[in-house]
């Protein structure tokens, strides 16, 4: 029992050390916590109903009552930005989880086994990557139907090749390591060597990929909504808000576009910055 207690507290100390020696990571971590909080409690936090229109009060600039102004239907933009956080993060997390789980397992087996399977999967991935990815996502959503689940599937599919390649390469360099052979002598089958020995070892490196990818997935979902695929009005979503506000930017109503855009940008930036720190936290070798 005491051993476990020691390793727990040293994990805590290690996280504190990483955050302290790398202030950018600390800022990103705080940002991620704020995002998670908003996503969970948005319905309680919003000052106004994000979908209730109030036409007489339309297109008001930011003020004390409406911090981010109101849109063409008089809805409070600040409330809509908060309410959109949950949907956007949900899409991004689900999509990235799917592509990470599938990609790590497929790539892991290809990297470990090599041979014919590896060659076929490799060619398939090459073909997938040859498509312009955003166009592929558009085609998928258009074909599968204009629903949130399909945005998730499309985003997962276009991310998948990167995870497969990454996991394959990382497993490939480790498959001949002594500790892989040792695991087999300890009674692991090939299957459990890949799942229980190799994949945990490539996790720190994949954390960077996951984190960068989250930002990218949010952009992708917003982009799909922007061009009218996926989430439909009046659901609050950052991409739609930017798309709807774009009509008014020429008349000087900047807040309709700029503030949802800013929320999008800060979220993506936050996940991008988190990656390196996450790797340092997950990699036991970084603890000296």
């Amino acid at each position: 029992m005491s051993d476990i207690a020691i390793s727990r507290s040293s994990t805590g100390r290690h996280i504190v050390y990483v955050l302290r020696s790398n202030p950018v990571t600390a800022v990103a971590a705080v940002g991620a916590l704020v995002l998670a909080f908003v996503a969970l409690f948005a319905p309680v936090l919003v000052p106004y109903d994000p979908v209730a229109s109030n036409v007489p009060n339309a297109l008001q600039p930011p003020s004390a009552a409406h911090w981010a102004g109101t849109d063409q239907l008089g809805r409070d933009i600040f409330s809509r930005i908060l309410a959109a956080t949950r949907l956007d993060l949900m899409i991004a997390f689900s999509a990235v989880s799917i592509s990470f789980a599938l990609g790590a397992v497929i790539g892991g087996f290809c990297g470990y086994r090599g041979g014919g399977l590896d060659r076929w999967v490799g060619r398939f991935v090459d073909v997938l990557m040859a498509f312009p990815l955003f166009v592929l996502a558009m085609a998928l959503v258009a074909a599968l139907g204009n629903r949130v689940e399909n945005i998730i599937i499309a985003t997962a599919v276009i991310n998948l090749p990167f995870y497969i390649r990454f996991a394959r390469a990382e497993v490939n360099v480790r498959r001949n390591a002594g500790w892989v052979e040792a695991a087999r002598a300890c009674g692991d089958s090939h299957l459990s060597v890949v799942l229980r020995v190799l994949l945990p070892n490539i996790l720190p490196a994949m954390a960077v990929q996951i984190s960068l990818n989250l930002g990218w997935a949010i952009l992708n979902a917003a982009g799909l909504s922007f061009i009218g695929l996926g989430v439909r009005p009046p659901t609050p979503e950052w991409g739609i808000m930017v798309a709807e506000g774009a009509r008014f930017i020429t008349t000087g109503k900047w807040w309709l576009v700029a503030l949802p855009g800013l929320a999008l940008m800060l979220t993506v930036l936050c996940f991008n910055l988190l990656g390196d720190g996450l790797r340092d936290i997950l990699d036991p070798r970084m603890r000296t």
Partner: protein, 555 residues
């Protein structure tokens, strides 16, 4: 006395790390005359490599010289600028490294790499640079030098790579050559020839040489003077004969005691280890089946010659058998076959009267013999999962093979295995990178011992360890055999170490058995020519055995 070529005065080096500044050298004094060979010996972490890097001014960014000075040829180079240093390196000071393959650029030919060195230190026409490169390769006695010029490093053997490195190091006629473990990782017979070559070149060109090594045998054989380092200090230095004949410092004495000589036994190497409580090994009546028997085993990886070609031997219950050979002899393949990580092409492997060769390797983890046959790997740094603590590594086979869950029972078994391997309990929660080489070796042994195997395969378990650690580990293995009756299959290139641990020997060359029999017998009266070559090259420690080089320099 003339002025020394290199004089290091009170040199101090510190590294900045996560836990503040760590002092690596606490004031080193070394002097070296022209044409002299100085050996710096010590174990890992003693600061021998840091000394050479500091002299070359090649310390990485975290390290810096905090005090003292380095005089080369009367000139203070402690704070010389980059331009001066570039002129000095190669043409006055030169260095060869431990792993020659890693030190050569893999995508350039040997010729290009040598010409690069020549060009960096003087203007040369292409044609004359090429002739000079060829001459250098001739000087390092490489076979077929014209063909080697066009070769890439991966087309050369380890010994040839080291020859190319030496050619590059001497290309600009340096006055001082620093050789940092130049033979580690090479086969014993290759080690011998590389050292002979270095000594010959040194004598021909009147170079001074610093030989950095952990191997006292090597230092005693090739150096004029020795400096012994421990924990960043030179604890003793003097002429080779007197230093090893009558070591004064306790550390030197311990090192000398731990270095195997031709006569030493396991008990000599680590005198303060507790005595072995020999269990009354159940003497089975004659006629009982051996623990392990290999019958005409063949394994080929598709090359022109099979990796293992018709090998047969038997290992009695509780016995110890040594498999000896150089790289490419098939000894590692054999160990993986016996451990059932690889499938043989032909022949039979009988364990305790039962054939296990027919169970495919990918199914073997389910067979009940899996826990009976365990293996300790060569490189302790590479054989522990970096994400597992020592506890998890040792618990791994128990969880998989005995289906144990977290709890008191698992805890007890892990602690039992750790104590069998002499691993202190407070290290159990550490990750591999937080352990020293010797501690990692103990974790590897504890992991193999944990499922209470009956046969342990030892794949060069001490090759990556310091001599004093090697001595303790060898004793530990011997104790496991005598007290727990575990049969040992010891795979090694070092005949001398195998002799001490094993009753019987099998000498392998290119997959074939050259000679087999009781180890004392083979050691005293080798029958095969190959065994004799191996024996001759074994770097055992003998303070009197100096290199007989002068006779061959004329050649």
């Amino acid at each position: 006395m003339t002025e020394p070529l290199l004089q290091v005065e009170n040199l101090q080096v510190a590294f900045s790390t996560r836990h503040g500044t760590v002092t690596a050298l606490h004031g080193i004094d070394i002097a070296l005359a022209r044409g002299e060979t100085l050996g710096i010996v010590g174990e890992s972490g003693s600061g021998k490599s840091v000394t050479s890097l500091a002299v070359m001014r090649l310390l990485d960014r975290a390290g810096r010289i905090t005090g003292g000075r380095v005089l080369f040829d009367g000139r203070d180079i402690t704070h010389a600028g980059h331009a001066d240093l570039r002129r000095l390196r190669g043409s006055a000071l030169s260095m060869i490294f431990q792993n020659p393959r890693a030190a050569l650029n893999p995508i350039r030919t040997v010729e290009h790499q040598i010409i690069d060195v020549l060009a960096a230190h003087g203007r040369l026409s292409r044609a004359s640079a090429r002739t000079q490169a060829l001459e250098l390769l001739r000087a390092v006695l490489i076979r077929d030098p014209e063909a080697r010029l066009k070769a890439y490093p991966h087309e050369l053997s380890g010994g040839m790579c080291q020859r190319v490195m030496i050619a590059m190091a001497i290309a600009c006629e340096p006055a001082l050559l620093i050789a940092d473990e130049p033979t580690t990782g090479l086969d014993v017979t290759t080690q011998q020839t590389v050292m002979e070559l270095l000594a010959r070149i040194k004598a021909e060109r009147g170079m001074a040489m610093i030989l950095i090594t952990h191997d006292l045998g090597l230092a005693a054989r090739w150096c004029d003077r020795i400096a012994v380092m421990e924990a960043g200090r030179v604890v003793e230095h003097g002429p080779t004969e007197t230093l090893f004949e009558a070591p004064k410092h306790p550390y030197t004495r311990r090192l000398v005691a731990a270095s195997p000589t031709r006569q030493s036994t396991l008990a000599d190497l680590a005198p303060d280890a507790p005595p072995v409580r020999v269990r009354a090994v159940e003497r089975r009546p004659p006629g009982t089946p051996p623990l392990l028997e290999l019958v005409n085993v063949v394994k080929s990886f598709g090359g022109p010659v099979p990796a293992v070609d018709d090998v047969s031997f038997r290992l009695p219950v509780g016995g110890a058998l040594g498999l000896v050979g150089e790289s490419g002899s098939g000894k590692t393949t054999l160990s993986r076959l016996v451990c059932r990580l690889l499938d043989p092409d032909d022949g039979d492997i009988v364990f305790d009267g039962e054939s296990i060769a027919r169970i495919p390797a990918r199914e073997f983890h389910r067979s009940r013999q899996r826990r009976d046959i365990q293996i300790v790997f060569q490189d302790p740094n590479d054989s522990l999962n970096p994400r597992h603590t020592a506890f998890d590594s040792i618990a791994h086979p128990l969880r998989r093979l005995e289906g144990m869950r977290d709890g008191a029972a698992l805890d007890t078994r892990v602690r039992e295995a750790a104590s069998r391997a002499g691993l202190p309990m407070d290290l159990l929660h550490r990750f591999p990178h937080q352990l020293s080489g010797g501690q990692k070796a103990r974790v590897g042994i504890a992991r193999a011992v944990a499922p209470r195997p009956r046969l342990m395969i030892l794949d060069e378990p001490t090759a990556a360890l310091d001599v004093s650690v090697q001595a303790v580990i060898l004793q530990l293995l011997d104790r496991l055999r005598r007290e727990d009756g575990i049969g040992l299959l010891f795979v090694s290139h070092d005949l001398n170490v195998v002799r001490m641990l094993c009753d019987d020997l099998v000498v392998l060359q290119v997959g074939k058995v050259m000679e087999a029999g009781p180890s004392q017998e083979i050691f005293r009266h080798p029958q095969a020519e190959y065994t004799r070559t191996l024996l001759e090259a074994v770097p055992y420690f003998d303070p009197q055995r100096r290199a007989t080089l002068l006779s061959s320099t004329a050649a």
